[in-house]
């Protein structure tokens, strides 16, 4: 059913007013701040700093790289789990248990989880103890405060989003399509490759988009997991706001991050729209 | 006063004209079929009556009241949807009760109405099931029960039997016809299946390209199609090219046979319609047409044999020969004489 413009205006009006007051206005303030200095004058110096300095580009590049790695890794780990959950596991109670297990980590704040990571990845943590016991390593590896730790932490936080996005599409796939493929002589694997996978592309797109977006703006996880040794864009923003008390430069970094993210997302959706995936 | 009066209704989607000024009256108690191929505008017309499509021009009146601007829920019509549109989260009973509850029927009476409607379609035993637990035919009946529970003045059916298998469809056709007679409600239904229209409807509205091509009883439009389009769409038709002389007299193109009909001089491309079952093989008939033809192919279809033949002019003709057993009659490659009575053929000028 189409909605008339009148009703669309009514239905959208209040949420829109809300968003304008509590989101767009702060956003505009950020934009205004990014063009001013402490004296309140109009200036481009913040952008000159951010755009003219290779350092900020490196940090932005690292942030995007991290988000990309997180996307790919959560996809590789999340897809099998989503597939198992929706198409392999038939017992209802096991399914429920799985869903609870997937949702639980989301309910726990990153600070709480960080205690767990310290115990798991630490020098005397479970992973090192296990590897030592198995004789795989001779002395404890440094896992915490490394690149690996950041990625593990990011995967951990983002995985549930990816799993749920993919599962919601797989769940609604018509099972007869897979049966038809098997019937036509496709092996289980080629059925997956030629039928299930292409049809689940919308879930993959939704999952990667949300994971990418959340990764780019995430702050606590990279901060905690890197042991203060790596810098991502959101940390620069936080530092400007909270350590240097220079929201002007912080705003400019935020605007650059926001614009980059928007451009990438638009490019991503355009590429997907242009090239429908072959099935 | 007709129950439904459709007056010069137009509708376009962008530059595409879907309804080009359609006018149609439907009387109370009638069973009318809107027949046509997909894209002819029949479903749009039905949805315009139901109120799901806002028309661009013209007017639809139901029981004398203009429906322009009246939302679907305030129209005295109900619809059976092509895919039934049963609410998946509601039981059969609640699906059927949906309408009566909305129209403010006292809650005590709803149960009675629901039971009655389910009984009418023979689904009383399934009242507590969910739609997905029913077969296609059962869902179809529930959709029907849901629509009639609201006691509409007009029941609109959008390809109601389209999703059913052939056998079930045949049975439901008869059931629907009987149901319509029993309830006395006006049925307006959309189909692309001419047989279905012929079996069920009192009157058939043939639609073509956003306009009505012909309205009439099944017999009418079969025997007396007013256009090449209708002739071709309803039943099987041999449509033979004719040449028109200056005085308006016709002769069969390429065959050199004069025909005892006349058309207005200057008529463009008139044609002669001969139904396959009217064509005889063999001896010439008195006061008819007789031609030479070559048999291209023959197919045995149980109660009859179909012969595909080619005339001297190169035009093809289908012959429906009843009462001939297997192996009888001409075979492929035979040169035969065929013919038909003059009054069995019909001239088409449009």
């Amino acid at each position: 059913m189409r909605i008339t413009r009148f009703w669309a205006a009514i239905l959208l009006g209040i949420p829109l007013i809300y968003l304008v007051v509590f989101f767009v206005t702060p956003l505009c303030m950020v934009l205004a701040d990014s063009f001013s200095n402490k004296a309140g004058e109009l200036t481009f110096e913040n952008y000159a700093t951010v755009l003219g300095d290779i350092y900020y580009w490196e940090v932005l590049g690292y942030t995007l790289w991290l988000a990309l790695v997180t996307c790919v890794a959560t996809l590789l780990l999340g897809y099998p789990l989503a597939y198992y959950l929706t198409l392999v596991e038939r017992r209802a109670f096991v399914k429920r248990l799985c869903f609870i297990l997937i949702l639980m980590p989301l309910f726990t704040s990153s600070i709480v989880r960080s205690f767990g990571w310290l115990v798991l990845l630490g020098r005397e943590g479970l992973i090192n103890d296990g590897l030592l016991m198995l004789g795989i390593i001779g002395r404890p590896l440094r896992l915490l405060s490394t690149q690996t730790a950041i990625i593990v932490g990011m995967i951990y936080v983002m995985l549930p989003f990816m799993v749920l996005a993919i599962a919601s599409v797989l769940q609604n796939l018509n099972p007869s399509l897979r049966e038809a493929a098997r019937d036509l002589g496709a092996s289980a694997f080629s059925t997956f490759l030629r039928v299930t996978l292409p049809l689940s592309v919308p879930g993959i797109v939704a999952g990667t988009l949300i994971v990418f977006t959340l990764s780019i703006s995430s702050y606590v996880t990279p901060r905690i997991m890197s042991g203060g040794r790596s810098v991502v864009s959101s940390m620069l923003i936080y530092d400007q706001f909270l350590l240097v008390f220079n929201p002007f430069l912080g705003s400019a970094i935020a605007v650059v991050l926001l614009v980059t993210c928007f451009v990438l997302i638009i490019a991503y959706t355009l590429i997907l729209e242009r090239k429908p995936v072959r099935s | 006063m007709p129950l439904i009066a459709i007056d010069r209704v137009t509708k376009s989607y962008g530059s595409l004209k879907v309804l080009k000024g359609v006018s149609l009256d439907v009387e109370e108690g009638e069973f009318v079929a809107l027949l046509g191929p997909s894209g002819c505008g029949k479903t749009t017309l039905l949805r315009a009556i139901a109120g799901f499509v806002d028309t661009d021009g013209g007017d639809i009146r139901i029981a004398g009241r203009s429906m322009t601007g009246v939302p679907p829920n305030r129209r005295p019509v109900n619809m059976v949807f092509q895919n039934y549109a049963l609410f998946p989260h509601l039981s059969v009973r609640d699906n059927v009760a949906f309408g009566p509850r909305r129209s403010g029927v006292a809650s005590g009476e709803v149960a009675g109405i629901v039971d009655g409607a389910l009984a009418t379609v023979g689904m009383s035993a399934y009242a507590d099931r969910l739609p997905q637990q029913l077969s296609g035919g059962q869902q179809q009946r529930v959709a029907l029960a849901r629509a009639i529970a609201n006691k509409p003045k007009v029941l609109l059916l959008d390809e109601p039997l389209g999703a059913l298998d052939l056998k079930l469809r045949k049975r439901m056709q008869m059931e629907l016809k009987h149901l319509q007679q029993k309830l006395g409600i006006t049925f307006l239904f959309v189909t692309h299946d001419q047989e279905e229209a012929l079996v069920m409807a009192d009157r058939i509205v043939v639609m073509h390209d956003g306009a009505i091509a012909q309205i009439g009883s099944g017999e009418d439009i079969y025997a007396r199609p007013q256009s090449r389009y209708v002739a071709d769409f309803i039943g099987e038709a041999n449509i033979l090219r004719c040449a028109v002389a200056a005085d308006g007299s016709l002769r069969l193109a390429g065959e050199g046979i004069d025909l005892p009909y006349r058309v207005a001089p200057g008529t463009a491309e008139p044609a002669l319609l001969v139904r396959p079952e009217e064509v005889r093989v063999g001896a010439a008939a008195q006061g008819g047409v007789e031609l030479a033809a070559t048999v291209m192919d023959r197919v045995f279809v149980g109660n009859a044999t179909r012969i595909f033949a080619r005339l001297g002019s190169g035009q093809e003709i289908v012959i429906h020969q009843t009462g001939t057993g297997e192996g009888a009659g001409p075979s492929e490659g035979d040169a035969i004489r065929i013919g038909w009575a003059h009054d069995a053929a019909r001239v088409l000028t449009s």
């Binding site: 350092y55 490196e58 205690f115 310290l118 115990v119 630490g122 020098r123 005397e124 440094r142 915490l144 405060s145 901060r223 042991g227 203060g228 040794r229 790596s230 810098v231 620069l236 530092d239 706001f241 909270l242 350590l243 240097v244 008390f245 220079n246 430069l249 | -």
Partner: protein
């Protein structure tokens, strides 16, 4: 839900005070620290003050940087009456004019304070009062490290490689430590390169963002040695995860303090400040969180005396303070140096 101070809008301070004396008298909103330090302030200042005066004090817990951010955002209509801030951060707010001047006549106990504990702006007005000193030194795990370190530069010894923890810029002492190391190597706040180059070579287990973070890293034995302030060190020592050692290096510990600032003057607020400057209150803090009092003539137990930042027999004169004003003037450069030269391409 509705805050009791929205009446401030539109009226002058005095007029509002006159109009709503009851509100002003009866409740205070105070920003304080969290964790053990916060619990100590609750026990030694807030609760006894409430018991004595009947004024209701509501605590707004938070880290100093966030508190300053809130003050900046709500400059014209602050929700806070009094704030506790880390010495490193409070100068930023002072320079920004976020504090109200403290009238010494209304805080008689100022007379009983050591002069260093009374902070004045360039016009000679009092803008802050010290509520206890601490010193940043070297904490180490005595179970693992038998020989006590003596110098800051001992942290670079190969034996400690990968086992050191050091404050990041998010921790209060981070910027000052970077400047301090630079100074020790011949640089300074305007020449951070020597410090940055040195710190880049420091093989840390992790940089910590807060005292709590550092305690946890040490307790889990991720690091066996590191730089930490005395308050957090003694709290850790009392949790006994291992035998905790603490030394003030021979170059000198880096000291700082917790400070109280007035945002919205009122009688209750002055009374609160006055109570916080009693020997009773600061003594309690020294006994519980081992911060050195800024008030004269505080009687302390043996244990508390041995844990004072200036040692059992010393005084404030033995502490080395960094030039907070200079550091704050160069916060951006310090952060940039840290991010680019210390962390960059590690």
């Amino acid at each position: 839900m509705k805050l009791g101070h929205s009446w401030l809008l539109g009226g002058t301070l005095a007029a509002s005070l006159a109009a709503t004396p009851v509100l002003a008298q009866d409740s205070l909103v105070v920003a304080a620290f969290g964790g053990k330090h916060g619990e100590t302030l609750q026990k030694c200042v807030i609760k006894p003050f409430m018991d004595k005066t009947g004024v209701r004090v509501t605590v707004d817990q938070g880290v100093s940087t966030v508190t300053v951010s809130k003050l900046k955002q709500q400059r014209d209509n602050p929700s806070l009456d009094i704030v506790w801030l880390d010495g490193e951060v409070s100068q930023v707010a002072e320079a920004d004019g976020l504090f109200a001047d403290i009238d010494p006549a209304k805080v008689p106990n100022v007379a009983n304070m050591i002069p260093e504990g009374v902070y004045k702006n360039k016009d000679g007005k009092i803008t802050g009062l010290s509520d206890g000193y601490y010193s940043v030194g070297i904490v180490y795990n005595k179970d693992e490290i038998k020989q006590a370190p003596t110098s800051w530069f001992d942290l670079w010894k190969p034996g400690f490689a990968g086992n050191v923890t050091w404050p990041s810029m998010s921790d209060g002492s981070g910027p000052a430590m970077l400047v301090y190391v630079s100074e020790l190597l011949g640089g300074g706040v305007t020449n951070l390169k020597p410090g940055a180059d040195k710190l880049k070579q420091l093989d840390v287990a992790a940089f910590y963002d807060s005292g709590g973070n550092a305690s946890n890293i040490l307790a889990r034995k991720e690091a066996t040695i590191g730089v930490l302030d005395s308050g957090a060190v003694w709290a850790l020592a009392d949790a006994h995860p291992f035998e905790v050692g603490f030394v003030i290096p021979k170059e000198g510990g880096l000291a700082s303090d917790a400070r109280l600032h007035l945002i919205k003057p009122s009688k209750a607020a002055y009374d609160f400040l006055n109570y916080a400057m009693t020997a009773e209150s600061q003594g309690c803090i020294a006994e519980n969180y081992f911060y050195g009092p800024a008030v004269k003539d505080v009687k302390l137990s043996e244990k508390a005396r041995s844990r004072l930042p200036w040692g059992p027999e010393g005084s404030i004169k033995d502490l080395r303070f960094s030039d907070v004003n200079a550091i704050n003037a160069h916060r951006q450069e310090i952060l940039d140096t840290w991010n680019r030269d210390v962390l960059g391409r590690r």
